[in-house]
């Protein structure tokens, strides 16, 4: 860990060397480690220490950005000159008004000493417990155990000065039999809350139950999606249409539909960077404090998230604290999504299903029709048929092609537990319940 004082000193060096009309500096410190295993062995085991500095210089309405990870005083001063030189080559950006003014930022406790100090030996010990369970069932385990500390300092010449330090630990595994696989994962700010043994037990159990899968014809089915699968759909919903710029450019399903019903009554989705059930991050990459933003409330489209630039396009709108690092052409996106849970247990969802498909998680999901929020992707690592209220057999994997909004219009039941799913990017996390959805469209099958 580098510490607030050092990161602030780097930011101060940048700002005091700046000659531009406005200057912003983003300093990111990382101390990350990841132990990766496959075929019941640790095959990659890595650590990384880095500090990167990104400077945004504004001269009139000309904007230049430069970044480096050389934090010597001479290099930092050179970086400022570089950003200002880039700005001088720029054209005026008529849309630009100003960097954000300072606002009070509420601090959050997202740091865990046990995570920050976790050793390679401790991670290897956790991995061994997974490998032992896998070997004892004559299966092959793969996965990753990561721990790390990330620090973020954002300051600008208007007085913004925000610092945050957070830790994160994740354990995930796929355990494979000769023709089956099971997946389990967990993530927490405090590594001591993770139980690799329990994660292995869940994955092994699923791998055993998914042995000798058989095919089923594609078509429309009731599905019970575990939290991972629901979180993937929520992430794409946010990426495709819950940011202001996508709405302003008419490429969002929210465009022209605020106040209208877009999903079923039982769907409520919001973004909250302060909720400890997710990854807490109190401000965005412009130093603007995060607001809790209601996006979909009881099926009604309520709003989208804003950064400074997208807020300045609308009269009376302010940033909700969802800006990404400059330069950013895609606009703001929600980073801490939550779905309001229901009351059902997974057992109740299964018991209430005459015929349906249980999905552990999705693989390689991508948009097919962004405006209609239609996605395609595959199931993987545990797909099962439910008949007459019971899981009857494992299935070969299926391809779905399905509108998320339509799926969320037919959610018959939502699980009572929220699970935090760490998404693939930085501090992104989605908290999702399991869901029972009717009329979910599968369009293809595969051979395993």
């Amino acid at each position: 860990m580098i510490g607030k004082a050092r990161l602030k000193a780097i930011a101060d060096t940048i700002l005091s060397a700046a000659n531009a009309d406005q200057t912003e500096v983003l300093v990111n410190g990382q101390d990350l480690a990841l132990t990766r295993f496959a075929a019941n062995s640790i095959h990659q085991n890595v650590s990384e220490t880095d500090v990167s500095v990104r400077v945004r210089s504004i001269v009139g309405k000309k904007i230049g950005v430069a970044s480096s990870n050389d934090v010597s005083e001479q290099a930092l001063k050179g970086l400022v000159r570089k950003a200002e030189t880039v700005a001088s080559f720029q054209q005026q950006n008529p849309e630009f008004r100003s960097l954000p003014e300072p606002l009070p930022v509420r601090g959050v406790d997202a740091y865990s000493e046990s995570t920050a100090g976790y050793s390679a030996e401790a991670r290897a010990k956790g991995v061994r417990t997974i490998l032992e369970q896998s070997r004892s069932h004559d299966m092959q385990a793969s996965g990753a155990f990561s721990t790390g500390t990330e620090e973020t300092m954002i300051a600008n010449s208007l007085g913004v000065s925000a610092y945050h330090c957070g830790t994160m630990a994740t354990v995930m595994t796929v355990i494979m039999g000769s023709n089956s696989a099971g997946y389990a994962a967990d993530a927490a700010q405090d590594v001591s809350r993770l139980d690799p043994s329990d994660i292995a037990r869940i994955a092994v159990d699923k791998a055993i139950r998914s042995k000798n899968p058989t095919p089923i014809d594609p078509g429309s089915y009731t599905v019970i999606l575990e939290s991972d699968a629901v979180a993937t759909m929520m992430f794409y919903l946010g990426y495709l249409g819950l940011g202001a710029q996508s709405m302003q450019e008419n490429r969002s399903f929210m465009s022209g539909r605020i106040g209208q019903k877009i999903t079923g009554n039982n769907i409520t989705i919001w973004d909250d960077g302060f909720d400890p059930r997710g990854i807490m991050f109190p401000f965005d990459y412009e130093g603007v404090p995060k607001q809790k933003v209601m996006l979909i409330e009881e099926g009604i489209a309520r709003g989208v998230v804003y950064d400074t630039a997208s807020a300045q396009r609308e009269v009376g709108q302010v940033s909700t604290g969802h800006g990404l690092p400059a330069p950013n052409t895609m606009g703001p996106i929600p980073t801490s999504l939550f779905m309001k849970p229901g009351v059902a247990t997974q057992e109740e969802m299964i018991a209430s299903t005459k015929k349906g498909i249980w999905v552990t998680r999705f693989h390689y999901v991508n948009p097919v029709h962004p405006v209609k929020a239609i996605l395609t992707g595959m199931t993987r690592d545990g797909t099962f048929l439910i008949e007459d209220g019971k899981i009857t057999r494992p299935l070969k994997n299926l391809r779905f092609t399905q509108s998320i909004l339509e799926a969320f219009s037919h959610a018959e039941m939502l699980g009572r537990d929220l699970k935090m799913i760490k998404m693939g990017f930085g501090g992104f996390a989605t908290c999702a319940p399991a869901a029972k959805i009717n009329g979910f469209t599968f369009t293809g099958t595969t051979e395993f």
Partner: protein
């Protein structure tokens, strides 16, 4: 620099490493984006650091830092050994690297016009000119053009005696235009989607593709797509253009031939492969006209380099020969592993281990995985097709975790009737199973249509790594393909 690399390797040896290498890497990136006439992005990014990879107690360890000082080198090298020893506590077997690789050499990307010598104004002028051409088309909602340039200088040294210096230069450009109406968004991209096409080389790549000269046509096509009928849903003959075929090769051939993936090292994340070792040399991957080659030597290919990131020379490998599966992309470790079950497999790696910068460990990555050209021209191929569909430029992609079931969507398509292109159709998709799809390939166009397309967004590994890969393709024809799934 030799003093620095020797210091790191000495520390590794003194702590008990039986193998060690160090990579010192600097990356300079320049990115420019013009969106609807406004320069949205103008950034210069510089990234520097070093990574030390070791084998100790028969297991791998890796540590990295952005501070190349004597004390930090000592700390990081010792940490790499500590991590390796921790790895060993969980493992039943030891890493085998095969025969040593010892090379003292240097390599530089051939560059005619250094892109970092071309002024920012000149680059912006090209993008603004393309933007104006596109937005002159009535009904266009958005035009976004970009250029990207990369210079990567890296030094590799190993405890086996290698010392290799390389400078790789990449240049890329592209424009994406969008038309929006009534809940419909249509886009066209030039020369390729995913933001831009990129290759190894200098500013001559930018000049070759003439962005302003092609932007208006792209915009007209995007607007026309809004009123085009939906792609029909049926089983038919499919012709793919070069850029779409490049992604088809990438996903359904390039990834499943990565031998680390075959051995399960990506199983929990990117997945495994249907091309298991029992299929090596015996499996019919495609029809007789399907010939696939992996190389690191094709000029301007985005996967072209002198040496990979474990110091193995870039080379050429047959992957599919007359339809038969004959080769993998390998590392030193996976090549050794394959030899245990296939004694006739090559003893050495074919040099495809690459890392996404100083802070990532090298993993098997595609270099230029290419479909070799055939005989007909595109006109001849279309004239020879009674009924079918011609799809151009990728818009959507997905494939299962063994790389069998895929579904792609393209930006644009045309019906083919009686040997001629018919009406334009929108929202075109096709789906299939990899060996069946390639088994239905009955023609690949000739060298006049062949180009090495650059993919800059290939994701793999944990922590995540993004690789730049090349794919040489010419349009090709596939029989009995399911197209058009959207209603």
């Amino acid at each position: 620099m030799r003093e620095t690399t020797e210091r790191a390797l000495d520390v590794c040896r003194s702590h008990g490493a039986t193998y060690a290498d160090i990579r010192i890497v600097r990356r300079e990136n320049q990115n420019i984006t013009v969106k609807n006439g406004i320069v949205q992005t103008l950034s210069l990014d510089d990234d520097f650091g070093f990574g030390v990879r070791v084998i100790a107690d028969g297991a791998w360890g890796f540590a990295s830092s952005n501070q190349l000082t004597g004390a930090e080198i000592d700390r990081v090298a010792a940490q790499a050994v500590t991590i390796a020893r921790a790895s060993a506590t969980a493992n039943d077997s030891k890493v085998e690297l095969g025969p040593p690789e010892v090379h003292v050499d240097s390599y530089k990307t051939p560059v005619h016009i250094d892109p970092f010598d071309v002024s920012l104004e000149d680059k912006i002028d090209v993008l603004i000119a393309a933007d104006k051409e596109a937005r002159a088309v009535k009904g266009l909602a958005l035009a976004q053009g970009s250029m990207g340039f990369l210079r990567e200088t890296k030094t590799f040294a190993s405890s086996e005696g290698s010392y290799i210096e390389q400078t790789l230069v990449e240049s890329g450009l592209g424009i994406t235009v969008r038309a929006v109406a009534d809940g419909e968004m249509q886009q066209r991209s030039y020369p390729n989607s995913f933001g831009r096409h990129q290759g190894t080389g200098g500013y001559e790549i930018i000049q070759k593709w003439d962005l302003p000269g092609n932007a208006r046509r792209a915009a007209e096509e995007a607007v026309a797509l809004l009123s085009a009928p939906q792609c029909p849903s049926k089983t038919t003959t499919l012709i793919l253009d070069g850029p779409q075929l490049a992604l088809q090769v990438h996903e359904s051939c390039g990834h499943p031939i990565e031998l680390d993936r075959v051995y399960g090292t990506e199983a929990a994340f990117a997945g495994t492969s249907f091309l298991t070792p029992d299929k090596y040399g015996t499996f019919r991957y495609g029809s007789d006209v399907v010939n696939l080659v992996a190389d690191a030597v094709t000029p301007t290919g985005l996967g072209t380099y002198g040496y990979d990131d474990e110091g193995v020379p870039g080379q050429t490998t047959d992957i599919v020969k007359n339809g038969m599966f004959v080769g993998y992309l390998t590392s030193r470790e996976t090549a050794s592993q394959l030899r245990k079950t296939h004694p006739n497999a090559p003893a050495r790696s074919n040099g495809t281990m690459r890392a996404d910068g100083w802070n990532r460990v090298p993993i098997v990555r595609m270099n230029n995985v290419s479909l070799m050209p055939g005989e007909p021209s595109l006109d001849e191929l279309i004239a020879d097709t009674d009924d079918g569909i011609y799809m151009l430029t990728n818009k959507s992609w997905s494939i299962d975790d063994k790389r069998l079931n895929f579904q792609f969507g393209t930006e644009m398509a045309y019906e083919i009737k009686n040997g001629k292109l018919g009406q334009m159709v929108k929202n075109a998709t096709y789906t299939g199973i990899t060996p069946k799809f390639w088994g239905g390939c009955d023609a690949v166009c000739n060298t006049d249509h062949w180009n090495v397309w650059g993919t800059t967004n290939c994701g793999k590994g944990q922590p995540g790594q993004t690789a730049h890969t090349g794919h040489g393709t010419a349009p090709a024809r596939f029989r009995n393909v399911q197209v058009g799934l959207l209603g």
